[in-house]
């Protein structure tokens, strides 16, 4: 066990993947000498060489497009998009090529590509550095979309993503990069929970709160506050957005009768909308209140001085919990 930040846990996970499989290679902007703008790839080029840890030209479509060719050639590319807002030049390659290749080739050439994207706000950044574009990707068949919320999961999930034969969009909650936890850096992924399953991170009987990535910590903090008032929140870390582990959430909602979904991304057509629809279908007779969503607004991500007003916080989670209970 070692006290490790999420950034270091992902670094350790990448290192293990590079050690375990010579076909794994990393590509991205500034991931070599600099070690990435968040230092997630720190030291990897030094230890694995420039042929396996590749500083790419400044072109996201180029990064993902060449990853497709490398995958066809039997490699397992792990590409880094420097920030959420810079994935869009690669959107065409991801949506029209990466996502569809397995189906088009009748499974003959899978696309074991991992696309790492630091995402979300809360770090006081300038435009395009704080966004949560996960719904675009979850909307696309053929892509798996996952997001760790803590260092322990991050260490396992990044390796599971790389080991997966499907393309995985791996969203890293950048404002949690510096969160620390005890991580067993010798842990094997064969014994780890599937990254495509949700996990109940705090059991409770009053209201189910489903969240992922950066919002898990926020919701756990809300649960602590709620508990002092006698309200027991059951906090579920979804971990995976595609596939979406509806059965775990449904089982919880059958116990609590209430669901609040929390994410930073805009609520309109977001993951909460999908979950609300599915839970309404599956748990209609268990629901004591409509499914409520807490998330971003239908506005561009605001300038950083306003981001606290935009981002869901403990108060907004508790407000939704109160509204769910008041029904």
């Amino acid at each position: 066990m070692a006290v490790t930040t999420m950034a270091k846990a992902i670094n350790a996970g990448l290192r293990k993947a590079l050690e375990d499989d010579p076909k794994v290679l990393l590509m991205g902007e500034d991931i070599g000498k600099l070690g990435g703008v968040f230092r997630v790839t720190d030291g990897l080029q030094k230890d694995f060489g420039e042929a396996r840890v590749i500083d790419s030209p400044l072109a996201e479509s180029g990064i993902v497009g060449t990853a497709v060719g490398l995958a066809m050639r039997g490699f397992r590319p792990v590409v880094e998009i420097q920030f959420d807002g810079f994935v869009f030049p690669a959107f065409d390659q991801i949506v029209t090529q990466v996502a569809k290749h397995n189906a088009r080739s009748s499974g003959r050439t899978p696309m074991p590509i991992t696309i790492r994207i630091p995402y979300g706000g809360g770090i006081g950044a300038v435009e395009h550095h704080s966004e949560s574009p996960e719904a675009y990707f979850a909307h696309t068949a053929g892509l798996r979309v996952i997001s760790p919320s803590n260092p322990v999961d991050a260490f396992a999930m990044v390796r599971q993503a790389i080991a997966c034969n499907d393309p995985v969009v791996f969203f890293e909650p950048k404002r949690r990069y510096w969160d620390k936890a005890d991580v067993d850096l010798t842990a094997d992924i064969t014994s780890a929970t599937s990254p495509f399953e949700a996990r109940i991170v705090r059991p409770g009987g009053s209201v189910t709160v489903a969240c992922y990535g950066p919002m898990v910590r926020t919701c756990l903090e809300a649960a602590t506050v709620a508990a002092a008032d006698g309200t027991e929140l059951e906090v579920i870390d979804l971990r995976s957005l595609s596939p979406l582990d509806v059965p775990t959430v449904a089982a919880s909602v059958r116990r609590t009768g209430r669901l609040v979904v929390v994410h930073e991304a805009p609520v309109f057509l977001g993951m909460g909308a999908e979950l609300a629809a599915r839970i309404t279908e599956e748990c209609f007779y268990s629901l004591e209140a409509p499914v409520l969503r807490v998330g971003g607004y239908h506005t561009p991500y605001p300038p950083s001085r306003l981001e606290e007003d935009y981002l869901p916080d403990l108060d907004r989670v508790l407000d939704a919990v109160d509204r769910a209970l008041a029904f």
Partner: protein, 360 residues
């Protein structure tokens, strides 16, 4: 590729401040105009260093320094006619200066009180663009518009060495070429794209890329304000006369960090910076002005005083920039009413008013 820019480098003022001549390019400036350029360079550098200090003090979220690139920016910016239009990246503080954008407006963006900062039409300068390369296509489209309006103005489009790898930038070259658009592509090759050296983006000098697209490319000493002015004048004139695009590669150096979040000691050696300090754009003009008697001690002292006064005003102005009203994030999402935005805004305002005096 040579570190000194090679023989193709167009220069009118050597790093030692000696005025030299070039067969194809020249400028004929009055002493007043030369002193004006010096003043621009000094004040732009002061804006840059003040902003860097303000970031360190927590007044700005981030700052992208332009130190070392002042001549490239001021020289090209001063070549523009009022009706010309500039498309910047996020580092063109010197261009903004020449377009009359107040430095405080730049700071408001980096402080995080706005995602814009100024009225593009009022200054004939687009807003800063952070997504690398996107603005190059906008520039070409704007130039195509000028063409269709029979406006004999031109567009100048800024981008970095790293940006030349982006698909959009290459598409911009294609569009500009096939439509013969009146646009000047102004690439500041500052040798670095964050931590990646030029070799990660190209095997040939960047100005030679233009060949393949079918328009002229030139390499100018980006630290020589006179040469930059001359070369940009010529490219703008060609654009106005219907000769289409030119690619200017301003050969320069990013003397600071990429931004205040960056630590260049991780990827480059201090000796490079020391070598480039000897090519400083301000120093060489100062030497030339002093030696040729075009400016005296009183002039230099007056510019210093002006810089100092501007810095004080900038600091005060920055600290005094108010945070926007929270509900303003719902303003202007669309130009016409939109039901979802209206509904969310109403809920947002109700929620916030529940805190006033209430406490949660």
């Amino acid at each position: 590729m040579t570190a000194d820019g090679g023989p193709e480098l167009i220069q009118l003022l050597t790093p030692e401040g000696e005025r030299v001549h070039h067969p194809d390019y020249d400028v004929d400036l009055t002493p007043d105009q030369l002193r004006g350029l010096y003043r621009d360079l000094v004040l732009v550098r002061r804006v840059d260093s003040e902003a860097t200090a303000l970031q360190r003090q927590g007044e700005l979220g981030l700052w992208a320094q332009c130190i070392g690139q002042e001549a490239a920016q001021v020289g090209s910016g001063r070549a523009l006619a009022p009706g010309d239009f500039a498309f910047p990246t996020y580092r063109e503080h010197g261009v903004a200066w020449t377009r009359g954008v107040a430095p405080l407006q730049l700071l408001s963006l980096f402080r995080g009180v706005t995602n814009g900062g100024w009225d593009p039409q009022a200054h004939n300068m687009a807003l800063y663009t952070i997504v690398i390369g996107d603005q190059t296509l906008h520039a070409v489209g704007y130039a195509m518009g000028m063409q269709r309006d029979d406006d004999d103005s031109a567009v100048i489009c800024y981008f970095g060495d790293g940006a030349t790898s982006q698909g959009d930038v290459n598409e911009a070259f294609v569009f500009a070429a096939v439509y013969n658009a009146p646009v000047v592509f102004f690439c500041q090759n500052n040798q670095w794209a964050i931590s990646e050296p030029l070799e990660r983006q190209t095997r040939i000098p960047l100005y030679r890329r233009a060949d393949g697209f079918g328009f002229p490319g030139v390499r100018v000493d980006g630290n020589d304000v006179l040469a930059v002015l001359a070369v940009t004048n010529a490219a703008l004139a060609a654009a106005r006369e219907g000769q289409g695009p030119t690619l200017i590669e301003a050969f320069t150096y990013r003397m600071g960090a990429h931004t205040t979040s960056d630590d260049p000691t991780r990827y480059r050696v201090a000796a490079d910076l020391e070598a480039w300090k000897l090519k400083d754009p301000i120093e060489r003009l100062k030497v030339y002005l002093a030696r040729s008697g075009k400016a005296d001690h009183d002039f230099f002292a007056a510019v210093e005083v002006e810089a100092q006064e501007m810095a004080v005003a900038l600091r005060d102005g920055c600290r005094g920039l108010p945070d926007p009203a929270p509900a303003s994030m719902f303003d202007h999402v669309y130009s016409e009413p939109h039901l979802l935005v209206q509904t969310e805004r109403a809920a947002f305002e109700t929620y916030h008013s529940s805190f006033v005096g209430g406490g949660h």
